[in-house]
Symmetry: C2
Subunit: 368 residues, 2 copies
């Protein structure tokens, strides 16, 4: 099977780029001497997990579906990194009863009491907010030691997510976010230790903060996911070059408007997602950058400027080669945000570099 | 099973609201004496199709996956309403060889020649642009009769989509779009008839244009899909009241910030979609309106203001009742755009009105 034979739209994964991205992250992390706990929210794939967390190493997941799927594949040591609710504890306990060690996170005293009271074996980390303003308590919040006490022997450590690293517009800004993240989570850990708690796990991360951190002193592990595939946001955050964006959406030309220098393709809002992550960045790629079948950016800044459910409108800053793009011609679209684009598809069609041969089909575990 | 027992996030369909919406559309269409060809792109469901197109009536589909799934369920008469590419003709022909009559659409002469030359039995409609500026040729374009000639006996009619009805900001504006759509597609049909072609199908539609059209004279059928479920965009287009929005996402509170009057829920960008369809409308609902477990808008304008992959941030114009919203409490989120939100989920949990009993689970056919 070749890319030119696949029904469109279809998700393509360049394994060579994936491996380069994994090597880059492994190098960054090993320099700091910390553990990498890859986040599988982006890939949702056993095949990718086997490469990113070799030897069934520790992983992070974002849904119970991922936890179940990857636990069954042999990945015991997991953190389910979305604030837990009591109703989900039975499902976690069921996985742990079969040999997994799925840890949960919370920033809520009542939820912590429910974890502690649950008859199953479930450990929890306390979620700390080091500036992202999503979930978590500030390192100095007095509820932090109260939750640790409520958890008792179920207390496993502290965790933060430096999601605001994505707002950084220079390496220096991202490095500062990473340092704030590190300093905040270490401070939370130290305060808990000073109060007599053992803090086994001190976890931070986002791809940009991990890749740019000057120091990870005091941190035991880092979590990151997007780095595996990269995307147009990561390119603009300077965490990777454009040629290392590993996922793309294969699409067919379904309409042509030479007079307007415009194409219509069969990858729309469902195939690409409506993520506009580059809208506020230096370069706005619309709904994605259009490249040729081999993945090369040969059409200038040809981007998907509008999406409908199954239609994408392609426009470019330079004349599109209409002779080479009849109805039925194939192109690929690099995504703004690979997590969201990949989630629109049931599996990956795997290629190696510029070869158009599909060497494997890797399933994903979507939904919840 | 009750809504309070479902794992979250989960897609909920209120069958009572669905039936009200179907009755409303049936009433509108029957007044005009035209055929309704419901678009299953929104529902992607056999169960919904059985209600919306009773007696296995004519339907519209947006993917080959829908075409296949619904043909196998008995829906023979279909239009696959996304510009066809030659590589997809074998799949269409295979369905038609088993008794279906899946018609394709095109605005491209080479694609029309491929349809005519295909050994399978495939008919095609010519796509006409009546102002939406997506696909299609203008009614007076000289390529229109050339495509009809190329199709020969495979020529089935003309089709247009008044997608720009969504840009209408008053009933009067939408009515004008509908009239332009009607006049344009009828003009295309009349020109083809004057040139000696039989034009069996003259098809137009979008939910707003069909529901607001003053006249459908000369049109043989209308296509619409969103009306079945409705959403916050449709409410603002005055095609339905808020209580008739039939789909919502069930979510759990996973974090609380009383000091900021803010909640965190476990429905984020993947469960809600990143559709921001109300952003440019009279009322911007962020990523959705938060209502209670029974579907009632009791929290004021509580909307999802930010999304992360699995997190939604809820903020309101009035104080949220934190005592009634501990971690684990359930809410529902009404979507901006039901097509995109529903596409994030594998099935519907069906309830009847304000009852929290799940009376059925209806599967969807996602992907392509």
């Amino acid at each position: 099977m070749r890319l030119a034979d696949l029904p469109t739209p279809a998700l393509v994964l360049d394994r060579a780029a994936l491996l380069r991205n994994l090597r880059m992250m492994a190098g960054s992390v090993s320099r700091h001497g910390v553990t990498l706990r890859p986040h599988l929210k982006t890939a949702k794939s056993i095949d990718v997990a086997m490469l990113a967390a070799p030897g069934f190493g520790p992983i992070t997941v974002s849904t119970l579906a991922e936890a179940r799927y990857l636990a069954e594949a042999g990945f015991r040591d997991q953190i389910y990194a979305v604030g837990i609710v009591p109703a989900k504890l039975d499902a976690v306990a069921a996985l742990n009863a079969k040999g997994a060690d799925v840890k949960v996170i919370t920033d809520d005293l009542e939820a912590a009491r429910a974890v502690a009271a649950h008859p199953g074996r479930i450990r929890a980390l306390i979620e700390i907010d080091t500036g992202a303003g999503r979930g978590g308590l500030t390192p100095d919040d007095e509820t932090v030691p109260a939750i640790a006490s409520a958890l008792g022997s179920r207390f496993a450590g502290v965790l933060t997510h430096g999601g605001h690293s994505y707002a950084g517009r220079s390496v220096e800004e991202i490095r500062q976010v990473a340092e704030n993240e590190r300093a905040g989570i270490v401070r939370a850990a130290e305060r808990l230790r000073a109060a007599g708690n053992e803090v086994a796990i001190v976890s931070m991360g986002s791809s940009p903060s991990v890749l740019n951190a000057a120091s990870l002193a005091g941190v035991t592990e880092v979590r990151a996911g997007v780095y595996m595939f990269g995307d147009l946001m990561q390119v603009q955050l300077h965490t990777q070059p454009l040629e290392d964006v590993a996922v793309s959406v294969l699409a067919s030309v379904i309409g042509r408007r030479p007079a307007q220098n415009r194409l219509l393709i069969d990858a729309g809002a469902l195939a690409l997602s409506k993520d506009r992550g580059t809208q506020t960045m230096a370069k706005d790629y619309g709904f994605g950058l259009v490249v040729d079948l081999a993945g090369r950016p040969v059409f200038g800044d040809a981007i998907v400027t509008r999406t409908y459910q199954e239609h994408g409108v392609v426009e470019s800053d330079r004349p599109l080669p209409f002779d080479a793009l009849p109805v039925g011609a194939r192109v690929r679209v690099l995504p703004n945000h690979s997590c969201h684009t990949a989630a629109a598809h049931p599996h990956y069609h795997v290629v190696d570099g510029a070869s158009d041969e599909v060497v494997a089909v890797w399933p994903r575990v979507n939904y919840w």
